[in-house]
């Protein structure tokens, strides 16, 4: 069951958009980080059930952060939400262990669908 969700994105607007798309009636506990490194540190600290991860970020990009999180916890569910929708970028993060990739901007439907899939996966 999903309780904690971590949002990793350097854009506060993008995090706000993502928060607005997450269903309000399920009492998820939301956490935020502004770059890939902070995302990895926050992940280790709070151990979220699901992490939404941007790719193009300063300090540490989302690909590296995803790899580090998956190295730390091979069961981690990282959903990449990105504007970089090149096939090579998507293939790369899936190979690094991302659970799935969503294109920006997200919608309530795509986020709900992703959370349902993650819920099924977590069991």
């Amino acid at each position: 069951m999903i309780k904690k969700i971590l949002l990793v994105d350097d854009s506060p607007i993008s995090r706000r958009i993502m928060k607005s798309c997450i269903p309000k009636d399920r009492d998820y506990e939301l956490f935020e980080a502004g770059d890939g490194l902070a995302g990895f540190e926050t992940y280790k600290e709070i151990r979220p059930d699901v992490t939404f991860m941007d790719l193009t970020m300063p300090i540490m990009d989302g690909s590296e952060s995803t790899a580090k999180i998956r190295e730390f916890n091979p069961e981690a569910v990282v959903i990449v939400c990105t504007a970089d929708i090149q096939i090579k970028s998507i293939t790369n993060v899936l190979e690094l262990g991302a659970f799935m990739v969503m294109k920006k901007p997200p919608s309530k439907e795509t986020v709900e669908d992703a959370l349902l899939k993650a819920e099924e996966h977590i069991g």
Partner: protein, 212 residues
């Protein structure tokens, strides 16, 4: 004069930055579908300037390139302005081979003409997809002038000096990119003037309203 700094708020800049990020991501994916290339993206930047400072700003931004090739395209809609895709001058040569296996494929055309056509094609895809997606996200549709390529100028000469009337302000959306396999990097600047600012502010509010 600082008035132009207040034209759009910090929050509006952040929204515009995110929309530019999405738009250029779409443009990169469109280009990668047409030619075998991977575009390394960076976080876009938004700058507000007096239009009289625009030429010197653009020249400073591209000053790392001794010689430049620029694809310039104007666009019209509620969102109106000019796009400048700036490469170092050697980029055309690097990119030509992406459109064919060798120079024999291009018949009798000169290498300069091929480089120009290649830059025009790459520019047309990147600018068209980026401006098109940006306009779509903000509820507009734009038309474009044909792209124009200025090559082999020094950066001091390449940027037009009078893009907008003096005394007006300009919003510059800048993104830096790199074509990984070809060692080619460049900048895309979208420059919009006073005429679009009121529309832009309203559209940014409307864009965010769907996420309230």
């Amino acid at each position: 004069m600082d008035y132009c700094l207040d034209i759009i708020s910090d929050e509006e800049k952040e929204i515009l930055q995110e929309i530019m990020n999405i738009a250029f991501g779409k443009a990169a994916a469109d280009l990668a579908e047409v030619i075998n290339i991977f575009v390394v993206l960076s976080v876009p930047k938004i700058e507000i300037l007096n239009s009289q400072d625009l030429p010197s700003y653009l020249k400073t931004e591209v000053s790392e390139y001794e010689r430049v090739s620029i694809v310039e395209q104007n666009f019209w809609g509620d969102f109106k302005g000019s796009a400048f895709l700036v490469f170092q001058a050697s980029a055309g040569r690097e990119l030509v081979s992406l459109f064919g296996d060798n120079s024999d494929d291009f018949g009798s055309e000169s290498i300069e003409a091929l480089e120009k056509e290649t830059l025009m094609e790459v520019g047309n895809i990147l600018i068209g997809a980026c401006v098109g997606k940006l306009s779509e996200l903000l509820g507009d549709a734009v038309t474009y002038s044909p792209p124009r390529v200025v090559t082999e100028n020094t950066h001091n000469d390449a940027i037009p000096a009078n893009i907008f009337e003096s005394g007006s302000s300009a919003i510059v959306l800048k993104t830096v990119f790199c074509f990984n396999e070809r060692n080619v990097n460049g900048f895309l600047f979208l420059v919009t003037s006073n005429d679009s600012i009121l529309w832009l502010k309203k559209s940014l509010v409307t864009f965010m309203e769907q996420y309230e």
